[in-house]
Symmetry: C2
Subunit: 154 residues, 2 copies
Amino acid sequence: MAKQSETEWAAALGKLLALTIALNADMAGALAKDGLTEARTQLLWELGMRGPSPQKDLAAALGVTPRAITSLVDGLVETGFVTRQPHPSDRRASLVTFTAKGKRVVSKLQRQQKEFAAALFGDLSGPQFTKIDSSLDYLLTRLQELGLELPGSS
Amino acid sequence: MAKQSETEWAAALGKLLALTIALNADMAGALAKDGLTEARTQLLWELGMRGPSPQKDLAAALGVTPRAITSLVDGLVETGFVTRQPHPSDRRASLVTFTAKGKRVVSKLQRQQKEFAAALFGDLSGPQFTKIDSSLDYLLTRLQELGLELPGSS
DNA sequence: TATTGTTATACTCTATAACTATA
DNA sequence: TATAGTTATAGAGTATAACAATA
């Protein structure tokens, strides 16, 4: 009966949205304890994967305007997480670079993410984990088919 | 081998986070077309489920301060989605109430959400859907066990 | 001429604190 | 005295547009 399915689909989407809201809120709360916001953390996270980067690259990675990156880097400089270093070959650009504090906090974030993953999935048997993992795969694939932009698919 | 599992857990968490980012970005984009932001939409959504409400109730529902609700309602009044009506029995309070435009857009949002759910899940067989639905259940339950606040569990 | 990042300006979301009107 | 909502003030994120310095 189609009507029944529609209700179930809506309920499942509700669960998915509840998941995203809960994850978002939890991350925001955890970051605030380190004196970070979500946007600034996203910048630090990218920086951790790329190493010292011109602001232009960070703007592209975060999907925001160069102007927004100026503000984010200003904030991260003021709070001691990064510095602007001169670009060795392009005097227009500067390289956003971790301070010791910045390196420390990014390592901590990476470690916390691993621990969270272990807490979330570590109690599952192999087949149970596979079931959930392939469910996530399906959802990601379907979203992409529906035209949604997935992060990292730039 | 535990090391292998840790990598898989981290990858699965990455998928989950990618899912949340993609859904968030897509919703924000769709809402902007209706002249709405996420925060204002969340307020309209709550209002759609509760009917005319004092700002205090909306503040509790959205988990923000009463002051933030004043700003959101101001914006929604300016853009013609809601009005403030006098509370029948408490002259301190006002009831945030839909305009015709507000009602129309909330109906549209609800319809779009149903359509999106159908697009996301409608191609699945019964057992396939059950697999994904129970995966979402597991994740929600586990998050709750880990102390995360789920929306609607207030 | 094109690119990098800035200043100028504006809008949105949110918070705390002090205050008004009403209960 | 307590509650509903406001004004005042402030910080953060983002956008567009105009501009500087450099490529």
